[in-house]
Every structure is written in structure tokens, then in C-alpha cells.
Symmetry: C2
Subunit: 153 residues, 2 copies
């Protein structure tokens, strides 16, 4: 997998505007449609492009609560870490799960309709997860920046 300058620009454009047409994309990078499409397909097959997603406005859809949860486990054995991740995988409210270095083992991004349903989720789904030692939650007051993925510009 070897990316040249054109590939980088294709990725930057697609990250910014995922539904751009192939002809418009080709124009922007100075190609014609066919080679442009071939490059994009190659980027998809190589795994550089994992997929495309609509970016939805959570608040408009009634999801008013975003919370970051810092979770520490009782054991950091690989089995315990995996068991926790597998439990998390079953919870739609958890949108992201990252394992961290240091004292905190995981950071989770949780999206919920309201504070009440979040608190119910916290006590009935997250705190009882396998091996959990402690969960510290911080409510997102406002988000000033959310850029997709990778700083290509």
C-alpha cells in the first residue's frame, strides 16, 4: 500500500465530503472519472477507506446526553480486558471504547436520550460489567470541534 499525493487528496476530499460524485472528485484532483474511480476502489479495498457514514445531529434526534466514562478494571489480564470489551460490544449506548495506558483502563463515549436513561444505563449495564473496579463519568456540556478521523489537510 503506497499512497501518492493524489491518493492523499482523494482521501482528504472524501473524508470531508463522503458523498461527492466521482466526476466532481476527479475534477478536484485533476483526473478524469475512470482512473479516479479506480483509485478510490483501490483505497477502499486496501482498507485505507473503511466505509462511509452519515454524520447525524444527536440533539435533533433526541439524544441530548453525551458522557465520557473513565473505567478502571480490577484486573488488567488480557482475558479480563477482552471480557470487558466483549460486554461493551453488546451495548448500543456505548459508541466508542478505547483502552488507555496509565491508571484508567478504558474511556467510553456514551450517547443517551436523557439524564435518567443514562443513569439507568450506568447502574444496570456499565457498573455491573465484568471486572469493573471504578467508573468516573463526565457529562459533555458542549462540543466545539468534531473533525472526522485523520488530520490530512
Amino acid at each position: 500500500m503506497n499512497f501518492d499525493e493524489i491518493d492523499r487528496r482523494l482521501l482528504a476530499e472524501l473524508q470531508d465530503e463522503g458523498r461527492i460524485t466521482n466526476v466532481e472528485l476527479a475534477q478536484r484532483v485533476g483526473l478524469t472519472a475512470p482512473p479516479c474511480l479506480r483509485r478510490v476502489r483501490a483505497l477502499e479495498e486496501s482498507g485505507a477507506i473503511r466505509g462511509y457514514h452519515a454524520d447525524l445531529d444527536a440533539a435533533t434526534l433526541g439524544f441530548t446526553i453525551t458522557v465520557y466514562a473513565m473505567v478502571s478494571l480490577k484486573s488488567q489480564a488480557e482475558d479480563a480486558l477482552r471480557a470487558f470489551e466483549e460486554h461493551i460490544a453488546t451495548l448500543p449506548a456505548v459508541r466508542e471504547c478505547h483502552m488507555l495506558n496509565g491508571e484508567i483502563d478504558f474511556i467510553l463515549k456514551i450517547v443517551s436520550k436523557d439524564l435518567q436513561s443514562f443513569q439507568e444505563f450506568l447502574t444496570s449495564r456499565l457498573t455491573p460489567a465484568p471486572n469493573v473496579a471504578s467508573v468516573k463519568t463526565s457529562l459533555v456540556i458542549r462540543t466545539s470541534k468534531t473533525e472526522p478521523g485523520v488530520p490530512l489537510e
Copy 2:
């Protein structure tokens, strides 16, 4: 803005597969193409759909480091908060900036090519940001879950 069951399914499909064709989308929700397209346009205009983005694989593109930074400011006055956010807005390495309740004021998601460039970024761009009292960073070891946006399923 009033969403019915079909709108919800359209949003779920587009969140999952942002480049699905309109005819395929229409089939999946049990519509024909024209009303399906009209609904999607309405969802876009209403702001429920903010945009579409390619989901890129950071590692494949050479961005091997993801870090969460917990930032506390010296002042929580609105002016100070804004000044910090405006500084952050100029930094491409910072992909997300969320204001939190509690002792930590902001959580940032930072993406970098390697540890060295991250550390340079930290000392030259983030620690000197306006009003910063403390920055605690945690390196992401691995990510087991990243679902886009909102738990619609």
C-alpha cells in the same frame, strides 16, 4: 421537525452506510426512489443529517498515535473557555474538543503520526494554549469499538 419510523430507518441506514444508493435505500425501507430521495433531502435540510464522511483507517495512513488529553483551565469564565476553544480550532491534530462538567474542563482527542510529533505538539501547541492550568494525557492502546454517532438501531 417530526421524524416517523421510516425517517428513523433512513437515518440508521445512512449512518451505517453513507454511500448507499437511493434506490437501494428506498428498497430497504419499503419506498420507491422519489419519495425516499425527498425524505433524505428533507433530513439533510432540517439538520438531522449534518453531512457524509469517509471513515479512514488512521494506522494505514501513518497516524499511529491517538491520545485523549484532559485539560483544566485556570479560569472557567466564558471568555476564557471561548479563547481556549478558538485556539483549539486552529490545531488540526485535535480532532475533537468537548467541554465537560466537574474538575476537568475539556477532553480532547488528538491524532498524530508518532510519539515524537505528538510530544512536540503537546509542548509547543497545547500546554501554551490560553489559560491552561494542567494537561493530563492518556495514550490509546487499542480501540475495540467505534460506532458512528447515535444509537438508532
